[in-house]
């Protein structure tokens, strides 16, 4: 009986929260809010917040064209694998103190799991045979290279800080990082973490391919780059993947630096009966997470989008390996000496 209940619970985790349905709804909403905010910042009215949903369903209703030069199987399967990997990745990122699957993947694994959706886009693009896609994937790969170094440094800095405090020297487990913050306050309040926070804020648009780091999908110069040959449902799946990635990156930020809020929430509900408090805490935490994600999107996607112009790919690379990686490195050194 418990097995049935457990498997039902896990299935609910996978399909509803924090899995597929949650990712679908919140990711798309984040995307829509991003577009709306950019429009408002440019003194436009902007599309409705639900616009990504319309786009998604419209694309489902369009014809799917597979170019004659493409490898049909890879071309059609790549978006699905990418989406699945992206949503599975979301399962491992704790929502404050709640983590659906602990003991499956740690920070370093998450770093690599982030590569899988990107890789699936790259493979899909490569299989289409289009030269625009070829240029796009080349740029995408360079973007990945660029973002990887600062991201690694940020994660190591966090691992070291939490490890220092816990006495083990280093801590790679995301759920432990979340628990530590719930008990001891958010990492963002530490002096040594501030450069890492700044670096991570700059990593988010790079990792999600947002403006001005979207050289890989430059629609005005290389015809949407990697997606040049995609149409219809596979394109819709890619758009969804991108939306979920936005959610993943922002909630990763929250998990790494803002985990203390979860502790505060539990503190608030301490007087209630445990069963109610647990349920209520989760609901409140989800709402807070979503609000924080919106703030982050507004800060590092919409604002940056509205005020900057696209970087060339080699500028992008240089920027990440000097400025952003430098920030992260400062944080690592500070964390190393226990500040």
């Amino acid at each position: 009986m418990t097995i049935v209940l457990d498997s039902l619970r896990y299935l609910a985790y996978i399909l509803i929260f924090p899995g597929f349905l949650f990712c679908f709804l919140t990711g798309m909403l984040l995307c829509g809010i991003d577009r709306k905010l950019v429009a408002r910042m440019q003194k436009r009215i902007g599309p409705p917040v639900l616009q990504p949903f319309y786009d998604f369903f419209k694309l489902l209703g369009k014809e799917t064209i597979v170019p004659a030069a493409a490898n049909r199987v890879v071309f059609l399967a790549a978006p699905l694998v990418g989406l699945a990997a992206q949503v599975v990745l979301q399962l491992f990122i704790p929502v404050f103190s709640f983590s659906a699957f602990r003991g499956v993947a740690d920070v370093i694994v998450v770093l690599y799991l982030l590569l899988i959706p990107a890789l699936s886009v790259i493979l899909g693009a490569a299989s289409s045979g289009s030269p625009y896609a070829g240029v796009g994937l080349s740029r995408e790969m360079v973007t990945i290279l660029a973002v990887e170094l600062p991201l690694v440094l940020v994660l190591l800095a966090v691992a070291k800080t939490v490890g220092n405090a816990m006495g083990t020297g280093l801590c790679f487990s995301l759920s432990q990082i979340a628990e530590y913050q719930a008990a001891n306050g958010s990492l963002i309040t530490r002096l040594s973490m501030l450069p890492a926070v700044a670096a991570m804020l700059l990593i988010i648009p790079g990792e999600t391919g947002n403006h001005p780091f979207d050289a890989a999908e430059a629609e005005t110069e290389i015809c949407e780059g990697m997606l040049a040959e995609y149409s219809g449902a596979p394109l819709a799946v890619y758009k969804l993947s991108h939306a979920v990635k936005l959610l993943t990156m922002t909630s990763l930020f929250v998990a790494l630096f803002l985990g203390g809020i979860g502790g505060a929430v539990e503190h608030l509900l301490v007087g209630l009966a445990p069963a109610i408090a647990g349920g209520l805490a989760i609901v409140i935490e989800i709402i807070i997470l979503f609000l924080l994600c919106i703030v982050l999107v507004a800060l590092c996607c919409s604002l940056v989008h509205a005020v900057t112009a696209r970087l060339r790919i080699e500028q992008l690379f240089k920027y990440y390996w000097t400025v952003v990686a430098g920030l992260a490195l400062i944080s690592v050194v500070l964390a190393w000496y226990g500040l």
């Binding site: 499956v104 899988i116 289409s128 030269p131 080349s138 070291k160 490890g163 690379f317 240089k318």
Partner: protein, 665 residues
């Protein structure tokens, strides 16, 4: 059971000699080759239970000349878990390479000679890792070096093959000479060549002669592992050699060098508890790792690219082994094993491409995935493995290496080791980048006209690649099994030099020298990674997504519209042709592409007709290379391709190693 090791070595050599005599007939030759590689594999697998699981050590004295009076006189074989681990790797790799060779080499002349040399090389490496005697080791090094040189130049009609073999010969001989000189010096000091006795004698007797011997042996084994600064040889050799030989050189021969280095530093000299020696190994490993991956990014030949990656991965192993922690050594050995598997697979894929198209030039290939689907899938398995994409095996071992280096950094309080972690992670991403380049340039993109008649490779070759791919996936999904039963015991054996000495020279021998093992037993890693759970989740998710996709008619619309699209090419043609005042003389080829009836299914070229346009090859990652252009220019000028330069590098490296060893020891 004690006879199994010598039988395993003998089987290779016996196979080699029999093929010389009876090898004219193909069936006889193939049978002998198969038996010659399958028998040792079986023998070693039978040894796995007692040695790996129960921790026994086999000491075998040839002619039963056991030590007398505390001195080893006879020739000895000694198999501990560490040696057997490498032996198993080697036996597996050569077995697969042999299966692959049957189809791959069937068009070459001089096949008997090929198999003879092949088996000689295998026997040499196997003898090296199972030997319990330094001079025997040198003999085996000579055998394998000359066999490898001859095999490199086996297709001597290939451009550069003789040159590559010559370079390899010259620098390889420098390495072998170093090993011989080191052996002589140790013999002069210790009056013995037996490993166990040396291991007992040397740690307490580090004088100037033994230290120089140490440096000589170290550099000698570096040559065999092609570590920096010997990396250009590997590229040349791999570029010219047939694919199965590349598997031997990369998966087997470099392992013998690694084996030598680890045996030397951990067991013979027991210097690994010194921070300076750790620094030496980790530094050399990290430099090899990073330098060679950037060199690989600049290559435009499939096999040369793989060759540089090979050294880069060896750099990972050396880095991990140089940490001198239990987790470090076991993760290093794990990666050594994975390297043999995925690099073997990748070289075989490169061989498959060469077999069908006749070239490995990344600038000329493209779009082979439609013609060679099986090879493409197998290549992707290898590429994902080497790039460390979960859940393939490269990820499991690299992940452990990151943790080992970071743990070491925390334990020792040295921030330098943390930079090594970062270096490992970045190298891994660069590896991914260069394999994306290969994927795009060779298997995806557009198919050049000249390769339209390419076929899938024969079954024998697919079988060889398939075995390796399956092993890549299995060792990736069950990291716990590998750690508990393969790399764990091997790593433990590395730290148990006293057990090694006692097994050989009788119990209590090591104690006479007052040696104590410093055994770090902790294999625990702080991270969590459970590939099976992840795979289950991914499977469920994929199923869910696929169901939604199918119900929403993922590509059904395409089929319906295909029949009814009014804008077919013919319609376009007639519409345009009728209107144009001067109708073209032969209107048919105007839009003809030979692919589709409608412009709809062509690639988008801004409305132009589809033309052949393959983005790929050397310059794919311009954005990256532009920022590193000074570095690449420097490297380009440094690698002159002149053997004199490379010999000079070898001598300089030797001098530096001696100097460093004298300072630190």
């Amino acid at each position: 059971m004690t006879h199994y090791p010598i039988l395993a070595i003998m089987a290779y050599f016996l196979g080699a000699f029999l093929i010389v005599i009876f090898g004219r007939n193909r069936a006889v030759r193939n049978t002998l080759g198969f038996l010659g590689t399958a028998v040792p594999l079986c023998l070693l697998i039978m040894l796995a239970k007692p040695i790996l699981a129960n921790g026994e050590i086999i000491a075998y004295w040839m002619g039963n000349r056991v030590p007398a009076g505390g001195y080893a006189i006879g020739i000895a074989l000694e198999v501990d878990a560490f040696g057997l681990f490498f032996g198993l790797l080697i036996a597996t790799a050569v077995f697969v390479a042999m299966i692959y060779s049957f189809s791959y080499m069937s068009h070459d002349d001089n096949e008997p000679q090929y198999y003879t040399l092949f088996l000689m090389l295998c026997g040499g490496v196997m003898g090296l890792v199972l030997s319990g005697d330094l001079f025997n080791m040198f003999i085996m090094v000579e055998i394998l070096t000359f066999a490898a040189v001859a095999l490199t130049a086996f297709r001597n009609t290939v451009f550069g093959a003789l040159e590559a073999a010559f370079k390899y010969l010259v620098v390889g001989c420098i390495g072998s000479t170093c090993i011989l000189a080191g052996t002589i010096m140790l013999y002069a000091q210790a009056h013995t060549l037996n490993f166990a006795q040396l291991a007992a004698f040397l740690p307490g007797n580090l004088n100037i002669a033994t230290i120089i011997a140490y440096a000589l042996l170290f550099i000698g084994f570096c040559t065999k592992a092609f570590l920096v600064p010997f990396h250009p040889l590997a590229a040349d050799a791999h570029g010219a050699a047939p694919a199965p030989v590349s598997v031997l050189i990369s998966g087997v021969l470099t392992k013998s060098g690694l084996y030598g280095i680890i045996r030397l530093t951990y067991i013979l000299f027991r210097t690994m508890n010194l921070g300076t020696v750790q620094f030496w190994l980790v530094f050399l490993g990290s430099v090899s790792m990073f330098l060679c991956v950037t060199m690989a990014l600049a290559q435009h030949d499939f096999k040369r690219l793989l060759a540089f990656h090979s050294i880069s991965q060896i750099g990972y192993v050396l880095t991990a082994a140089g940490l001198a922690t239990a987790l470090g050594v076991s993760s290093g050995l794990y990666h050594a094993m994975n390297h043999t598997l995925f690099k073997g697979l990748l070289f075989l894929c490169a061989g498959a491409v060469l077999h069908e198209t006749g070239t490995t030039d990344l600038d000329r290939l493209g779009g082979l995935s439609k013609k060679m689907p099986v090879t493409t899938v197998l290549f992707l398995v290898g590429a994902f493995s080497i790039s460390g994409i979960p859940p393939f095996n490269g990820f499991a071992s690299k992940w452990l290496i990151y943790q080992a280096t970071y743990q070491k950094a925390v334990e020792s309080g040295n921030i330098g080791f943390m930079l090594v972690t970062v270096c490992c992670l970045v190298t891994s991403t660069l590896t991914l980048a260069s394999f994306v380049k290969v994927t795009q340039s060779v298997f995806f993109g557009q198919l050049p006209k000249e390769y339209e008649h390419v076929k899938e490779v024969p079954f024998g070759m697919r079988l060889g690649m398939g075995i390796l791919a399956a092993l890549c996936i299995l060792t990736g999904i069950f990291p716990g099994f590998v750690q508990n039963w393969l790399t764990g015991p091997a790593a433990r054996a590395v730290f148990q030099a006293n057990g090694y000495i006692d097994a050989m020279m009788g119990a209590g021998y090591a104690d006479k020298f007052g040696l104590a093992d410093t055994l770090p037993v902790s294999f625990t890693s702080v991270g969590v990674w459970s590939p099976i759970s992840w795979l289950c989740l991914l499977a469920i998710m994929l199923l869910a997504v696929a169901i939604v996709a199918i119900t929403s008619k993922y590509d059904a619309v395409s089929k319906a519209a295909k029949q009814t699209d009014p804008l077919t090419l013919e319609a376009l043609e007639s519409a345009t042709a009728a209107y144009l005042p001067t109708a073209p003389a032969n209107p048919a080829p105007r839009y003809a592409t030979g692919h589709a009836a409608s412009g709809k299914y062509e690639l988008f070229f801004g409305g132009e007709e589809s033309v052949f346009s393959q983005v790929g090859g050397d310059d794919l990652f311009w954005g990256f290379k532009h920022n590193w252009r000074h570095y690449f220019k420097f490297m380009h000028e440094l690698h002159s391709g002149i053997v004199n330069d490379y010999s000079l590098w070898a001598v300089v490296a030797l001098a530096l190693a001696m100097l460093y060893a004298m300072i630190i020891l």
